[in-house]
Symmetry: C2
Subunit: 225 residues, 2 copies
């Protein structure tokens, strides 16, 4: 194994995954890349089905880490609890309800363990600049300190690099990059509501629409509203 | 909730738990302390039963986070895999097989999430000086950097302190402290083998015996050998 890519089934991590497969491509295809998803009891569990289907379609190994036992210990947020998903702009203060505290630290810690145990040297995450306003665990100072922490945690055990291609990149530019790489957008899922269609009103739907529009790329998503 | 204590069911974390309850004691008893254990498919799952029984006996809230789906993704170590548990001294090089890579980073990340989501301000772990030789994720530089990483991860969300009372303390002195606090040693479990009795030969049994002997405290443990 060469890389572990944290893959939610959304646009950003799909683009990170395609980028990592492009970098790592071998005669055998994208061998050596493991896409890792997390089931933390999220309301939008549908993203996991999208993640699994996309990996299958491009022949990439995919694993889901089951963290559902955590959900009952994390009350008060809209992604795992019974708090309603707020509507509006992704960067609005009301979106604080969509913060699952420490989510990236947990997912990255698990990814580093899996990488270290399997001889992989890279952990890839698609955190991006648009996340910074609301999610502290997507900011450059967080990812830099996290990487330092891991170098100490795995000292003498393994050397694993934290790769964050989009930490200073906007979602609009991610759409441009994904377009270049041929990411099948219709096979990605963003909506926090997890309904039949993308709701079109939650923060991540609003952000998804904006990014396609601003990038000048056709948005194949069918929105409910 | 005031504190989350990572509690394996062993001697060190039992002493850390008793210490935290002493510090935090209120008219209601040890209210506000949550003991958090992890089921990562460890061979010595028996420690979880000991953890649960001890918490029940002293009226402390206890939760087990189920990480068993991780075990198959972490091959090659003696605690979760089919590699035999090495016998000998805890600090011997052969004990490298008992390293579950990044285990403390994973458990601490989860504990910080639970603390943040429940208004607790302290996460307590019983890592100690005797762990340093083999386990990089028990060393002072690791815990210090981990705490810094968390302050960034939870910036604007919560303020949670990492409390490591034994990070520069030997296991012998932990036994002395636990003796003072009245820790019921017979209700703690150390052995990595997880058999009927403590095996008396694995690294953690050897260390347990040594610590009691060096502290001059009666060891109530029944060892198989």
């Amino acid at each position: 194994m060469k890389s572990v890519v944290i893959f939610s089934g959304g646009m950003d991590s799909a683009t990170a995954l395609y980028r990592e497969c492009e970098d790592r491509w071998t005669a055998d295809g994208a061998s050596g890349v493991l896409a890792l998803s997390f089931d933390y009891g999220q309301r939008h569990r549908k993203e996991l089905e999208f993640a699994s289907a996309l990996c299958k379609s491009i022949g990439i190994e995919h694993a889901v880490v089951d963290l559902r036992s955590l959900a009952s210990l994390l009350p008060g947020n809209a992604l795992t609890g019974d708090v309603p998903v707020p509507h509006g702009h992704y960067a609005a203060p009301t979106m604080i309800k969509t913060v699952v505290p420490n989510r990236n630290a947990i997912m990255l810690s698990v990814a580093f363990a899996v990488a270290a145990a399997n001889g992989a040297t890279r952990v890839v995450t698609g955190v991006h600049a648009g996340d910074h306003a609301i999610y502290p665990d997507c900011r450059p100072e967080f990812v830099e300190t996290f990487a330092l922490m891991e170098s100490l945690s795995l000292s003498g055990v393994a050397m694993v690099e934290l790769v964050t291609p989009f930490v200073r990149v906007t979602k609009t530019d991610i759409v441009r990059e994904g377009h270049r790489l041929g990411v099948p957008w219709a096979s990605t899922w963003s909506c926090y509501e997890g309904g039949e269609l993308h709701c079109g009103q939650c923060g991540t739907c609003v952000e998804r629409r904006e990014a396609f529009r601003d990038a000048g790329v056709v948005d194949p998503t069918e929105y409910a509203v």
